[in-house]
Amino acid sequence: MSTIKAKAFQHPSATSNNITFNSDGTHTVNAAYPTTSKNLIINGAMNVWQRSANATGVNTSGYHSADRWAHGTDDLLGGPLGTWTQSRSTDVPSAQGFGYSLKMDCTTADASPAADDFLLFQQRIEGQNLQHLLKGTSSAKKVTLSFWVKSNKTGTYIIELYDVDNQRQISKSYTIDSASTWEKKEIIFDGDTNATDVFDNDNNWSLGVNWWLGSGSTYSSGTLNTTWNNNTVANRAVGGVNLGDSTSNEWYITGIQLEVGEQATGFEFEPFEAILTKCQRYYEKSYEYDTALGTVTFNGAYYDEVGGTNYPRIQAHYGVRKRTRVPNTMTIYNPNTGTAGQMYIWDNGTNRNYSLGNTRYTFNSVSTEGQNNAFNLNNRAWGAIHYAADFEI
């Protein structure tokens, strides 16, 4: 073994060092892009599944299974494109370090989508996490999306970045070449230099990363738009397959990374608790991680001393304070029965299950009371609730 002694490495055309070696044995890297927290996607390796690891009958838009991943379909205009089971699969690309993939399994086919039908697999990103992309400036940066995908249905698929703030979008196509074989895809998107079309610097949805899995003519009758432009609906998903055309179809995905630059670097693996914490900004429940909502259990439930004549009250503070918005939805469960819309009271030895009365919640707490049930303030009593709160964007 020998030691190379040098003070720095520098590209011949560069005016400053790429890597500088310090006399104390450390070094400094002049990184063009972040080397940690580089992945703009949360839960890209499908580690966290707070809602369900096996969601059946999925045919409406929303969040059904893996955290942060939305199922997008037309709830009103044309109807859903197929019905699906979304599940946590251990079918993963070999020797890449991923433990799970998300599997989309078609259970009701739609071989002839109506014009307005569509099917998306999607993640939504807050604008405040995208400011370093410099979108809407002459210095707008390229981004690279990489992911592993597998399907029995080969052919052309469409992937899209959608700017919600300015209603602009860019689409690219990729192909699944070999049936039922894991393939890694790397797709580079230009930066959007169109002046003033910046992402809002706030905590709302600014960018949608959309995997199109099928669409009707409304979204596919034009010419695929492969550069940033104002949205023309007909140009969003041209030439893509319809994954929903057969109940034999299934589609797996994992290892999703969106990063600044025009090179797909190695996937950024994070500890489970770090990913869970990120996900809990968007969804949180009191039940234990692997326990389904509505399960009869007191594990994880919030307890409170009960007060108030006739109107027993319970207040719970969430364990995490990472949000600046009230929940989109709040569901309260009775730990004693598993019933939603109920609270539990231990009333001096008697189990009471009360329907909920007045309920208030903020970004970090919920207070609720049982409806008038002649509760006696003088009794020894305590109550308990479970909750699930959705903060998705």
Binding site: L76, T329, R360
Partner: protein
């Protein structure tokens, strides 16, 4: 998401309708009234399409 039995709920402090109580796929759920809320926006679309009615608080 299938919405049924929707009704407004008034906040005790402010006296304003700040949320909707609705069954989502049969589960009683509170939905915050906010234009930033993706669930509320879905409810609003269904109301505008005449597919859902939100009752006043009893």
């Amino acid at each position: 998401m299938i919405f049924t039995n929707a009704k407004y709920e008034t906040d005790l402090f402010t006296g304003e309708n700040d949320k909707i109580i609705v069954e989502i796929d049969g589960v009683i759920t509170f939905v915050s009234i906010s234009e930033d809320n993706w669930v509320y926006k879905k409810i609003k679309k269904q109301v505008e399409a005449g597919e859902l009615t939100i009752a006043d608080e009893e």
